[in-house]
């Protein structure tokens, strides 16, 4: 699974994308955020405030209860500020 990070999430985590092997027990976005948070202080710090995290699965906005599976492209980012 490919995971992409944007804006201050990218800066706090220290990379723009990575490939991960999704653990078998992780089946939705909320589970992925919990699992990522346990990977180190930079992840824990970046993912603390869930209310300012938005998620896209395969380039579509989703909510935290959205299912995910191996091969998906997941993007984590703050609320958008374009225009």
């Amino acid at each position: 699974m490919k995971v992409l990070y944007f804006a201050w999430l990218r800066q706090k985590i220290g990379m723009s994308e990575e490939s991960i092997d999704l653990p078998a027990h992780v089946s939705d976005v909320a589970g992925l955020l919990d699992w990522l948070s346990d990977r180190g202080p930079e992840f824990a710090d970046a993912l603390t405030h869930r209310q300012v995290i938005r998620v896209a699965v395969n380039q579509e906005h989703v909510t935290f209860d959205a299912p995910i599976k191996a091969g998906d492209e997941i993007a984590l980012f703050p609320p958008v500020t374009g225009g």
Binding site: L4, F6, A7, W8, A56, Q59, E60, H61, E73, A75, F77, P78, P79, V80, T81, G82, G83
Partner: protein, 155 residues
Amino acid sequence: MIRVQREDFDLGQEYAAFADQDAGAGAIVAFVGRVRHMADPDQPKSDDNLIRSITLEHYPAMTQKELERIDREAQSRWPITSSLIIHRHGKLFPGDQIVLVLTASPHRDAAFEAAQFLMDWLKTKAPFWKEEETGAGTRWVAAKEKDDDAAKRWK
């Protein structure tokens, strides 16, 4: 039509080409969004409040798709005959153009409303993020509640 680009655009040229390909449209609305001079226009002018530059980051694989979705939604809600969205990314300076929306319709109401809708949804859905540089340093712009409220009026 959607274009996401680093380069500037020329409103006159874009309008001429747009009007030309939709010669029957009785109404065309154009909106240009630009980089403000002040980070917070409600606060006094100070070095900390003056924007030196902004950098627009985006999610290329999603940006195009999301703008197309927003455009399709506008087409399904209003009888617009053409629409164009140009959004820039990269480093921009005060006064620089960021975004262009053009809508064409037989009637002005649809063209005005569709243009406003496109901007409201773009501001809350298109995957762009602004980083602002002022005298106080560099910071990521926070999403504004009034933008969420503006998007919500189009249920």
